[in-house]
């Protein structure tokens, strides 16, 4: 017990002494220390920065990518997100998903609760009297399920109904951003707005959805899909089919059935891959995960290289530090420091050195990573686990690259060190 306490005291002394020596070493060789620690800072910064940025994105992705209602998936010609440029040709050669294919699917499919078709059009302005929106409004082709499938609700008025589609009525439902802009002081219901020369009567208003990645999800307008195709349809139009399963249990089965029917309709040979994409909230998150995974690995590789370079720098600083203090080591040994004492002292100095860099890297990494949060207007994040891993790795680097210099110090002969000038 007494022995234990003695050891503990010795350790706490070694800790203090090493910290003091580390500070001294940094101060004595300012430029070299700064350059070396810069390596550590860059290494830690790149990991922490990227992790913080990805965390902030991820935290908003759960809610943000919930663009579908529950138990819902969609089918369209091309993927939503593409990683890398390859394969673009493959998607271009696919045949479009047409209204006829949708009708066929609707006739054959047994399991789905709802089957919905839609499309979108970008780049038009919506006008009301003197006022008009910018060209960043999205016009959605909608059937009676579209609004629900967009995971929103009617706030006022009514939604799109089957008859609107059957008779290609010129009516619309507006998103809240459009309402804010065109109808700041009046009730939009019953008023007429004009888009690309066509007038639509406003029959409803959707609930406010908020933002994802700094972009509003309310800057849009729904019109019946038949009306939409009359105005915007062309040979190039490929529709998006949205399918809702009856329950979570039937989700997979429903997807299998729909995919099977679509393969038949689109005449895909049994050995070929689908010539259309199936996606849902889950696959969106998964695709995003693949993307962030790549970035993460890239950041880890960069920081690994930076840390190894920095480690060699630390070894260099430590070797200089040892050779500058040969006499001191001799004195310490003469009064009773064991080789192990000296080894510990220099190892801890190396660890402190790399931790200085590590802590700076963590701090600016967190600050830098949260710039993303600032840009996209999402809550800031502190990736404590990654900060911890980084500092842990810094300690390992200190120990790893400090052990050779520390070993040299520990092995010094007391007499020769004392004689050293």
């Amino acid at each position: 017990m007494r022995f234990r306490r003695r050891k503990l005291r010795l350790f706490s002394h070694e800790l203090k002494e090493s910290l003091r020596m580390a500070l001294q070493a940094i101060r004595a060789n300012k430029l070299r220390s700064v350059l070396t620690l810069m390596g550590i800072v860059i290494g830690v910064f790149s990991v922490i920065g990227v992790m913080t940025a990805i965390r902030t994105l991820e935290s908003s992705i759960e809610s943000g990518l919930n663009i579908f209602g529950s138990n819902t998936f969609a089918i369209q010609k091309t993927p939503v997100m593409q990683i890398g440029g390859h394969g673009r040709q493959k998607y271009r050669n696919r045949s479009n998903i047409t209204m006829a294919q949708f009708e066929e699917l609707k006739r054959r499919a047994q399991l789905p609760l709802t089957l919905s078709v839609g499309d979108d059009h970008w780049g038009s302005r919506i006008k009301y009297g003197e006022k008009e929106t910018k060209r960043n409004v999205v016009i959605y082709a909608a059937d009676e399920w579209a609004i629900k499938n967009h995971n929103t609700f009617i706030d006022d008025g009514r939604g799109i109904i089957a008859d609107d589609v059957r008779f290609s009525r010129k009516i619309c439902v507006l998103g809240m951003d459009v309402v804010d802009l065109l109808f700041p002081f009046e009730d939009p219901l019953g008023k007429s707005v004009e888009v690309d020369g066509v007038r639509y009567q406003v029959v409803g208003v959707t609930e406010r959805l908020g933002q994802i990645f700094g972009e509003s999800k309310d800057n849009n307008m729904y019109i019946p899909v038949s009306t939409f195709l009359e105005k915007y349809g062309s040979n190039g139009t490929s529709l998006v089919i949205t399918v809702e399963a009856q329950s979570a249990e039937l989700y997979d089965e429903t997807q299998d059935e729909v995919v099977g029917i679509m393969r038949t309709i689109r005449k895909v040979p049994p050995s070929d891959d689908n010539n259309f994409e199936v996606f849902s909230n889950d696959t969106l998150i998964e695709t995003f995960g693949q993307f962030t995974g790549g970035v993460k690995i890239f950041a880890i590789v960069i920081s690994f290289i930076a840390l190894v370079v920095a480690g060699i720098g630390i070894m260099n600083i430590m070797l200089v530090s040892v050779s500058e203090r040969i006499k001191e080591i001799g004195i310490r040994k003469a009064v009773g420091a064991t080789p192990r004492n000296i080894l510990t002292q220099f190892l801890m100095e190396a660890v402190f050195l790399s931790e200085f860099g590590g802590i700076v890297g963590v701090i600016i990494g967190i600050l830098g990573g949260n710039v993303v949060a600032l840009i996209f207007n999402i809550p800031a994040m502190i990736p404590l686990d990654w900060a911890f891993y980084s500092l842990f790795v810094c300690s390992l680097i200190g120990i790893g690259f400090g052990s050779y210099p520390a070993y040299r110090a520990a092995r010094l002969d007391p007499i020769e060190s004392l004689r050293y000038e």
Binding site: K7, R9, L10, V335, G336, P414
Partner: protein, 230 residues
């Protein structure tokens, strides 16, 4: 071996190998015993092996051959860690060149052996202050070596040698870097330590300094040429 001997050396040799086949026989076979309370002065011409012998007694170096027994412990068989422990607990070494840590205060320099002995802060501070007062430096505790005179530095070194209450105090030409007046002051401190019951071994070139001792060992070419008690 005399039963009460503090230190016993038998056939101790030290051979330095320089280069391929050139050897320096610094010690050629030393037999000696040191009794507790002794005040021994070692004399001899330059290169006769005085420092080599002191370093071996002080456990800073190990003999090439021979037996070294300190308070019953077989020092010649010990590894580096055990030697460090012996240096820490049983030896107080005073060097010609002081060997103080330049960036640390007198107090911290004196505390150093106690740090490696694992003595708690309060106790070691108290002991270091006492030791510094004993050598007359009670008012210079927070000075660094470059703010102290040579004599004061050597007194700090003596305080450091004293602090663990060692079995033996070794001083290799402690006055060698000091003027004669300061040298006398240092010698007076060593004499008073011996009178207080410490065992002291001192290397010197000065006859008048050697006269304080109650035993004079003379070395010549790595052998004891004369051993006189008075």
């Amino acid at each position: 071996m005399t039963p009460g001997a503090l230190i016993s050396l038998k056939g101790v040799t030290k051979v330095y190998e320089i280069g391929e086949d050139q050897k320096v026989h610094a010690l050629r076979g030393i037999d000696a015993e040191i009794t507790a309370g002794d005040y021994i002065s070692i004399m001899g011409p330059s290169g006769s092996g005085k420092s080599t012998l002191m370093n071996i007694i002080g456990c800073l170096d190990t003999p090439t051959e021979g037996i070294y027994r300190l308070e019953g412990e077989m020092v010649h068989e010990m590894d580096d860690n055990q030697l460090a422990s012996i240096r820490n607990r049983k030896i107080g070494f005073v060097f010609q060149t002081f060997n103080l840590l330049p960036r640390s205060t007198a107090l911290r320099n004196v505390e150093l052996p106690l740090i490696y002995a694992g003595v708690p802060v309060d106790e070691r501070r108290e002991k270091a202050e006492d030791a510094l007062k004993k050598v007359g430096l009670g008012d210079r505790m927070d000075h660094k070596p470059n703010e102290l005179s040579g004599g004061q530095c050597q007194r700090v070194a003596i305080a450091r040698a004293l602090i663990t209450n060692p079995s033996i105090i070794l001083a290799d030409e402690p006055t060698g870097n000091l003027d004669s007046k300061t040298g006398v002051e240092i010698m007076q401190i060593l004499v008073s330590l011996q009178e207080a019951g410490n065992t002291i071994v001192l290397v010197t070139h000065e006859q008048y300094i050697a006269e304080h001792a109650n035993r004079v060992i003379k070395l010549l070419d790595g052998l004891i040429s004369d051993d006189t008690s008075n």
